[in-house]
């Protein structure tokens, strides 16, 4: 059995207090919690574009001895620059997919500016991890990442596997996420972050195909122990836990295959 934290970040952010942002601190947690691999996207690239963080992420992959993989960020406001950086970066050891964040970049998920990255992902057989959420009264930008808004691209690029992060949030986005994961073979979800709803894991396993749910922490925003413990204690069969905790991410990102070729 493998445990894969499929949603982490490792670099500092001013408004976020973490006791220790270092790779060493996360590696220590990985050892304590038996986490085998992690998939990381960085705050630096969200702000500065894909080119800003790829070399640093590649270094993290190397220093983690191949245990921390990474995603390249695409900002639809900087299509040319980011595509160029991703074109160069996707061959780096440890590169395993794309990250988009419509709320952070202020561009709705269905906007034509995203076409280029869906095409890129399709051509390079890369999964896309996206922020997703529900409509929020205190953060209006969350509406830009409502799961339903991704549907035009989901149906246009059936070979691109899309992971809707945060289970669609804590509102009606959840229902949209469930519909998309059920309706489309290429849509997945993770429950990274503080989506701490009672019985969420049990509910997701009842409504979604078992290969569609991924464990993630959103570290260092959230400590992996919050979501790991609830998965370990969930009232579901052991085989399903193994799928959620690692096997699904392993297959989706092809991590074992990469690991064999990089270490």
């Amino acid at each position: 059995m493998k445990i894969i934290d499929a949603h982490i970040h490792l670099d500092p952010l001013g408004k976020l207090f973490a006791v220790d942002y270092s790779l060493g601190a996360y590696r220590e947690l990985m050892n304590r919690l038996s986490i085998d691999y992690a998939v990381c996207s960085d705050h630096q690239s969200l702000f500065g574009g894909a080119g800003a963080g790829l070399q640093e992420l590649s270094r993290v992959h190397e220093e983690s001895h191949g245990h921390v993989y990474f995603l390249g960020v695409f900002n639809p406001r900087h299509t040319k620059e980011d595509l160029k950086a991703l074109e160069q970066g996707h061959a780096l050891p440890g590169f395993c997919g794309i990250k988009i964040h419509p709320s952070f970049h202020g561009v709705p998920a269905e906007h034509p500016a995203y076409e280029a990255i869906w095409r890129f992902a399709s051509e390079h057989a890369l999964p896309i991890l996206t922020h997703s959420w529900s409509i929020s009264s205190h953060n209006p930008a969350q509406a830009l990442s409502r799961p339903g808004r991704f549907e035009p691209y989901i149906s246009k690029f059936p070979s691109v596997r899309l992971i809707l992060a945060h289970a669609g949030g804590r509102g009606e986005g959840r229902h949209e996420m469930v519909r998309l994961c059920t309706q489309y073979d290429n849509v997945y979800t993770d429950f990274a972050g503080d989506i701490f709803d009672l019985g969420l894991i049990e509910s997701l396993t009842r409504t979604l195909p078992s290969d569609k749910i991924l464990f993630g922490s959103d570290y260092p925003w959230l400590d992996p122990r919050a979501n790991l413990g609830r998965c370990m204690l969930a009232d579901i069969p052991a085989a399903l836990k193994e799928r959620i905790l690692g096997l699904n991410a392993l297959e989706l990102y092809g991590l074992e295959a990469n690991q064999d070729s990089t270490t």
Binding site: F17, Y21, R174, A226
Partner: protein, 265 residues
Amino acid sequence: MSDRIGKTLFDDYVRRRGELAFHDCSIWLGEPADFPLATAFGFEEMADYMRSHNVAGGFISHWAGLTLSPQRGNKALLDVVSTADKNWRMVFTGLPLYPTDEGPLPGQHKPHQCLAGVRLFPKSHSYALTEWVVGTLLDWQELYGLPLFLWHTEIQWEDLYTLAKQHPNLSIVVETQREKILYHMRTLLPLMRDCGNVCVETSNLTGQGYLEQVVRDCGAERVLFGSFFPVNDLSVAMGMLLDADIGQDERSLIASKNLLRMLKG
């Protein structure tokens, strides 16, 4: 990890959970506000669920105390908790100017035997959290050893600091709901270091290393197990505690002993 069998690992979590008799300071009855996917639990249903998940007892609050009126919320609690076994206690919602208001409100009389604490919602209920507004109520709580519960979203930190200094014998529990506490940890930690009567509950104390940091800086005696049930899954706060890098004695304090000690005054 590859040499471990998953089932053994899962069973180990259940076993470790079983070793701790949890007491939960953040259990809610009534219709949750602003969590559209959350389900309301009745008292018996809640108690059964809790017992089946190794929670032996706890402090119960009512959403109506926030959303409708403190009096309605407190009355609803009295109706169910006053006849329950002594493992379940109430946290009333308080208001300043209580002597002229209709009850039940904390501060009006000698506290009910099932009352375990008082929560204030100064922001939602539109009053200042200052000595000249809530001082009389806090004096009453000090007299009867009843802790003050506060959501961090309901306060100004400077107000809390001042009150904590003015009432050094009053236990104050900062609750990490109902939004992320992580944006406020740079304030909460120094405040707790400086004010020995301020504690924190665990339901959203889920940022990287937060639990260990509070224990290191302030001691495990200052942390209370809270789940924010039934909005949140019990196993989130449990998982954080089970895997925390602290001693078993500290884990036990947080899981239940601190809350039980608080009950004894």
